[in-house]
Amino acid sequence: MIYLWLKAAHILAVIIWMAGMLSAPLVLAALGNVPQDQRIRLRALFHKIVSPAMIGALCLGIALGVWGDWFSQWWLMLKLLLVIAMTGVHGALSGRLRRWSETAAHPLPPWFARAHLITLALLALIIVLVVRKSVF
């Protein structure tokens, strides 16, 4: 019973995390050059919603792995590598948002506008692994 509650909370946290990761590059690319106070507010939103969702998803995922005794499964090891990569992408986005909010006229680099594609690719691989519990 507790396992199912953990699973539901994990899925919720992942949805919020991914929503932020997928939308942040698109929203910022669409906004263009906005005043600095808006930049700071956007960064604060990311840190108040998306970053806690990432921490929640990671902690709940580890709890699920321990509770369900999944850590002996090789697909979970592969998933963990992808999650680490996803955490890195989140870090890069977060850092770029920090830089963008610090400097009034700082433009976003070209890779930022396409960061959602990396997130999407990692997410697709993770979903295949979790649903099939195998690559093939």
Binding site: L58, T87, G95
Partner: protein, 111 residues
């Protein structure tokens, strides 16, 4: 939150690197020998997850610093590789300190 509340460049990364390096050294030099030479498993059971968490936070912070244009791609790669070997992040600290000093007078964008 304001843009001016941020710490100086790379300060957070250097501190996290110190913690990550310390947990790796303790795991490799203390906990693992205790497990395999003396059969005492408790230190590995404590330090293993602790180092895992420190490693994840370190990688996140490296990526964050790269995203914030505080690390060049080469320094980013070097920081990631440094975390794979004992004492690596300690030895890499001088390179991070140099980069921090370069960034402080006028922020450059190495990306």
């Amino acid at each position: 939150m304001t843009a001016h509340s941020n710490p100086p460049p790379l300060r957070v990364l250097r501190r996290v690197a110190l913690v990550e390096g310390t947990t790796l050294v303790l795991l490799m030099m203390v906990a693992m020998p205790l497990k395999y030479l003396a059969g005492i498993e408790a230190p590995v059971q404590v330090l293993g997850p602790l180092h895992g968490a420190a490693f994840l936070i370190y990688l996140y912070t490296v990526a964050e610093s790269w995203g914030a244009a505080e690390l060049t791609p080469l320094l980013t790669l070097r920081a990631i590789l440094a975390a794979q070997i004992p004492f690596g992040t300690w030895l890499n600290d001088r390179a991070l300190a140099r980069q921090a000093a370069n960034l402080t007078p006028s922020r450059k964008d190495p990306i």
